[in-house]
Amino acid sequence: MSEAVVSDPKAKVVIVGAGHAGGSAAAFLRQYGHEGPIVLIGEEPLLPYQRPPLSKAWLKGEADADSLALKPQEWYAEANVALRLQGVATSLNRGDRTVSLASGEVITYDFLILATGARARELPIPGADLAGVLALRTAADAESLKAALGEGKRLAVVGGGYVGLEAAASARALGAEATIIERESRVLARVACDTLSTFFQDYHGARGVKFELNANVEAFEGENGHVTGVRLKGGEVVACDAALVGVGAHPNVELAQDAGLECTGGIVVDLEARTSDPRVFAIGDVAHRPLPLYERQFRLESVPNALEQAKQAAAAIVGRAGPAPEVPWFWSDQYDLKLQIAGLPFDADSTIVRGDVAAARFAVFHLKGDLVQAVEAVNAPPEFMAGKQLIAKRTPVSKTKLSDPAISMKEVAA
């Protein structure tokens, strides 16, 4: 584009996607004094809500729709954010600066924020369309899963990632049986180190979760249209009343791709969350974003990432300085375990385990030379907090001190 695009606090901003990223972008725009109209389009019938509790507090009945909502209904009217819930954006015309909805409505924009998120990857195997074969991305998904759990019910989880482990823990808390079926030789294979995988598998095993590792799922079996089991290669069948499929997610790039925006493993953006079109931003799970600490582009699926990018886009649109760069981080709650992860183990050449794995209080540090790249902390907030600061500051650390739990993290990080 040849025209100079300036920030404009009076511009009309259209946000496609009303998840954590999209909803937060609207809120940050207003916090930053944006005066122009804001239209927020979301496919779900619900106001923007928090997804992390869906596999935890929500399943256990400890959260309700109001507590999950980012903002109450009144806020949107007060803040003059026009909602198009159950609105499906079908195409984007960058020349005219319009978004078309399935309803036939055509909405013009000065700036567009794509927060279209990611969708659960489906298994292309027989029986995948049986009732009781579930995913866990939305509140509606969580509601279906919750209805399938309870005393004596049997849950099969396909995929030993965080969603699967959290759901299995919640199932156990509700008195249901849970079996985790994983293709790799360990759970969390793609996202965590060996030590952590083994620890989580043992912890779940001790609480009654069963595991089928190195297992390829061949089909879902059913009766009267409802799932009754998961058949593995080799013939074994894991009997179940419901099967949760948690095998990763695909970024929803189609709208951007069809409109000719650069997409590589997500919608490619810069540190202002701007795409290859200066009037279009992409934030949250769908964005392939720079990670300056690791000198690469990557796609992150996390709330902190959604919030950071929502701030970047809102700041760029109103013309104020962007937020301070953050270390990517993640968390997970299972049973009485609090897992906190800071950074990503890119280019790491050594690991240090600090603390007592058997006592469920430890941290695994991933180092590149003497720089901390990432830390995975179980019930170890000081290691997480200090580790996060070490990652941000890029200051060398003494491995000897780091491996000695008698030396406080304050001293290690000093």
Partner: protein, 106 residues
């Protein structure tokens, strides 16, 4: 409802009626008060909802858990009256509570 006053670092005051049962953090976030980020949504996992509790109220807001204590230990600009606002449950007894926000949560 409990009246809670949130004072931003620049002095801007937000006086809100917050429903008992919510946390002080939720009262701020649901009303879009700038300066309380609450990245983790109240799981005591991030220390981005740090506030200073007005001295008159420190007794009524209760004690910090070990988890909160160790998260705060590594937060920026911590004072004796620092709390993570996701760990303070609003009740009628907190009607009139005043909290101040730090310059930054990160």
């Amino acid at each position: 409802m409990a009246k809670i006053t949130y004072i931003e670092f620049d002095g801007t005051e937000h006086v809100l009626e917050v429903k008992p049962g919510l946390t002080v953090m939720e009262g701020a976030v649901k009303n879009n008060v700038p300066g309380i980020d609450a990245d983790c949504g109240g799981a005591c996992a991030c220390a981005t909802c740090h506030v200073y509790v007005d001295d008159a109220w420190t007794d009524k807001t209760g004690d910090k858990s070990a988890m909160e204590e160790s998260m705060l230990d590594f937060a920026e600009n911590v004072e004796p009256n620092s709390r993570l606002s996701c760990q303070i449950k609003v009740s009628d007894a907190l009607d009139g509570l005043v909290v101040r926000l730090p310059e930054s949560q990160h």
